[in-house]
Symmetry: C2
Subunit: 334 residues, 2 copies
């Protein structure tokens, strides 16, 4: 078996459903031969590692540990699903604070142990905030940190394909931008169904305005729906996309969906935020361009951005990241 690289990939949260799936998927894709599984829960992490050993990927070097220093030293690629899930009785703010603190520690650990990391993908929620906090504390360049945002776009694609009864691949250009929460901006003007522009279909018998609103709601609540159906949150699709994002840095063959990335542009009017934009990934990391959409779509994107700024400001108030004008003292590349 050949691997694309032997650079070290660290999976955080590897005892969990997403994390253990990521280890398997990375090796199945032949992405790298060197995988370290990092999780504070030793027993479950050992169990997940044993399963990978029983796969017997030829030439793979898979280790597991609960020690961030051991795991991250020399790491090129890092994917973290290592947040805490929301538990009963927790407020949204409790979840925000807890996971933002985990993200801050991740950033500090990256700075301490692998300041030359080539790419970090953060996939624990709220990812727009945890990714941003990780970036600030890591000291990495903005292009080196991305968050998973694709599932909103692929959920839109899925639902449109189901509505029209066409193969999913025939639905193209599906795009959501901005935040990964329910305040995401769902674009219609970028999408086509079987070569026909979606905007020409909306408001026709084939796709009434009501249908389209229902599809947008379905897209926004795609994650909740998985919980309803499976009794657990998504784990296969986040794993798949986080790996493809990382693979694109290794093989330079691109990644076709929007990613969350750091945006700070006076021209665009989005400052010091992490959100999904039109992106491409290459060997240097993630790069964004401003989406183009209708006036209403761009207003939705603006609203999503404003929502994210409030969450960002909350974590500043919590003291988890410094005030905006002090970020460059923590991360000079910002």
């Amino acid at each position: 078996m050949s691997y694309l690289t032997d650079e070290k990939l660290v999976i955080l949260g590897s005892a969990g459903a997403i994390g253990s799936n990521m280890v398997q998927t990375a090796l199945t894709l032949g992405m790298t031969s060197d995988v370290t599984m990092l999780d504070p829960y030793d027993k479950g992490n050992e169990g997940a590692a044993e399963e990978i050993y029983h796969c017997s990927f030829p030439g793979a070097n898979v280790t597991w540990t609960s020690d961030p220093e051991e795991a991250l030293t020399g790491a090129s690629f890092i994917i973290s699903s290592g947040g805490a899930p929301r538990k009963e009785g927790m407020t949204r703010e409790d979840l925000l604070k807890g996971n933002a603190e985990i993200a801050a520690q991740l950033g500090k650990d990256i700075r301490s142990y692998c300041p030359d990391a080539r790419f970090v993908v953060v996939i624990f929620n709220p990812a727009d905030v945890t990714g941003l906090v990780t970036l600030v504390h890591s000291g990495l360049q903005p292009s080196k940190v991305a968050t998973l945002a694709a599932l909103d776009s692929t959920r839109l694609q899925t639902r449109l394909a189901q509505h029209f009864g066409v193969p999913q691949s025939n639905v193209t250009g599906c795009r959501t931008y901005g935040g990964h929460g329910e305040m995401m901006a769902v674009f219609a003007s970028t999408a086509s169904v079987g070569g026909q522009k979606l905007t020409d279909l909306i408001g026709t018998e084939q796709l009434t305005e009501e249908d389209w609103e229902a599809i947008k709601t379905h897209t926004r609540q795609g994650g909740k729906r998985i919980i309803q159906l499976r009794g657990r949150s998504s784990f296969q699709s986040p794993s798949h996309h986080a790996l493809l994002m990382t693979k694109a840095v290794i093989d330079g063959r691109g990644y076709p969906w929007p990613c969350g990335c750091y945006v700070d542009s006076e021209e665009a009017g989005f400052r010091q935020i992490l959100m999904a934009m039109e992106t491409h990934i290459d060997a240097d990391g993630v790069h964004w361009t401003l989406p183009s959409g209708t006036e209403a779509e761009m207003a939705d994107l603006r609203a999503s951005y404003e929502h994210l700024t409030r969450m960002r400001d909350e974590v500043i108030e919590m003291g988890i990241v410094p005030p905006l004008d002090e970020w460059s003292s923590v991360n000079p590349t910002l």
Copy 2:
């Protein structure tokens, strides 16, 4: 994205942990573009399918159903994890009756809906029995039905690598044969560690007789250990191997571990049984040769076979398969 084939693959038990992992792995491997997910539990199956849709594998045609006729019609490849799961404290044998009945129905469904199936992999336990029952009722040629047996061998490889502190790939020739239950025959004479024959190491300071006995016990109880560590039975490693077995039929590139297959040889002294032998997989399916081992190892294999004949005779007594001398009236190729 290109796929090795567009022949239909049906995953039974696709709402479950193994099954849903198999769907993802098949597509990640680019094995086939055509996957049908069959599970009686519609809600969970839809949830698992939605996750796959959210991965958005380009050009994939993934459908889900609870109707065996719809799923199996036109199927070339079938992998079934659709048995009842083993719970902590249960032996594989405890599952015998319920799962043997499920296997009989699977065989009958194959006969009814896809008599031209190219390869069937049965991975629900006790696989030696469920695979055999499936084969008898399916009417397929013996080479077309295999069971997952590799995990015992890879667990042996894993444990030896851990004992000697060497990379897993440096431990070669690990082989267990016979049954997939605790009565498996663990061979030492086929294995090497770093090029040194294992039989030359056993009984030395590097690997005392006690160490070796402990490793054999560990190998036999590898499945139980996963349950202890993860709180659930193995699902990633069974998925991985079942897919690689099937892929070997498609791409002709072989599969390096023993498989369970039908054995009926007067010369070898093993009659009308399904068990792990030295095997290879090609476009025609699975083919076996008699393992070669020491006298003691061959006696272990014989004991494992005798154990399996008793389990087989139990399912005959249960009326799930006919008496031995009537098998050819159900499946003329036996």
